[in-house]
Symmetry: C2
Subunit: 177 residues, 2 copies
């Protein structure tokens, strides 16, 4: 917990002459903006994913696998910022639907390697994410907002000392794009 930077703007803590009750507004909470934006994304994706019988979490799990296959559950969890207790049931379901494969690593039977199957790849190509991009209404600001939010996430995780996800350091190869 570092020093508060020069200006700790709004949100919650500006020492001001107004009573706490009035400073403490949801509209000043970045965490609430993110929380509610996440709900909004879920609702925007729902009609699309429903048609394919996928949930949002299943979807991002498939996307993560499409860019790096044969990951262990732990490695996949680092990409997604999720633990095995969350991932295991999701991966099992995606396995039964035939989108991916789970295998114990022969070299280390503790690990489970997860691979996308052709059906999974095919499915991803069917998802018209463009419509959701459109729905963001951000236009050319899209990349900038994405970058800010990603940075926000990384800062928060760093400050929280990877309390529940060790995901520190190296995984962050700057989203160069």
């Amino acid at each position: 917990m570092s020093v508060s930077k020069a200006k700790a703007p709004d949100l919650t803590a500006p020492s001001s002459t107004v009573p706490a009750d009035e400073r403490r507004q949801l509209s000043n909470f970045l965490c609430f903006a993110v929380y509610s934006a996440n709900l909004a994304f879920g609702r925007a994706y729902k009609p699309i994913l429903d048609k394919l019988g996928l949930t949002y979490t299943q979807y991002i799990a498939l996307v993560a696998l499409s860019e790096g296959d044969d990951l262990t559950v732990g490695a996949l969890g680092e990409k997604l910022f999720l633990e095995s207790n969350t991932l295991t049931p999701i991966l099992k379901k995606l396995e039964t639907t035939g989108y991916l494969q789970r295998r114990r690593d022969p070299a280390d039977e503790r690990q489970v390697r997860v691979s996308l199957l052709p059906a999974g790849r095919k499915l991803l190509d069917k998802i018209p994410a463009a419509s959701v991009v459109d729905a963001t209404g951000l236009g050319e600001d899209f990349p900038e907002v994405q970058k800010s939010v990603t940075k926000l996430r990384d800062n928060l995780l760093r400050a929280t000392q990877g309390r529940s996800g060790r995901a520190s350091a190296d995984d962050d190869r700057k989203s160069g794009t």
Copy 2:
């Protein structure tokens, strides 16, 4: 924060010379940035809220009530972008812990009015949200990011036609009832 403002490489950009697999990277997904930032916020708040025996959702519910009391479940839901099926159990729990009060509106027995109790107000004053603000590491960019994300949320909800929340622009219509 004005950074490269080139083009929107976004996430789904259809026209490109690269294969779909390579464009489809989590690092290009704004929805994933928001999703994971939300998880990160939850982890940042957890140690603070745990000490007070609150969950994050309970916390924002109390905050919402602190800025406008005696709301119906529906009105509170509009503020929080949640439905009664999510709110009811949360409010019941906050009632049993003595932080708020739930009463059927005598004028319309269908509605339940929710009010913060002194214990709830007192609790809110104890929450050191400043440390989380600090953990965002955004410094002076904080308000800007908050604004962008809020706008993003509102755009998404509008595009989704308030599928589950009619909360759009003028809620007055609603509360005016």
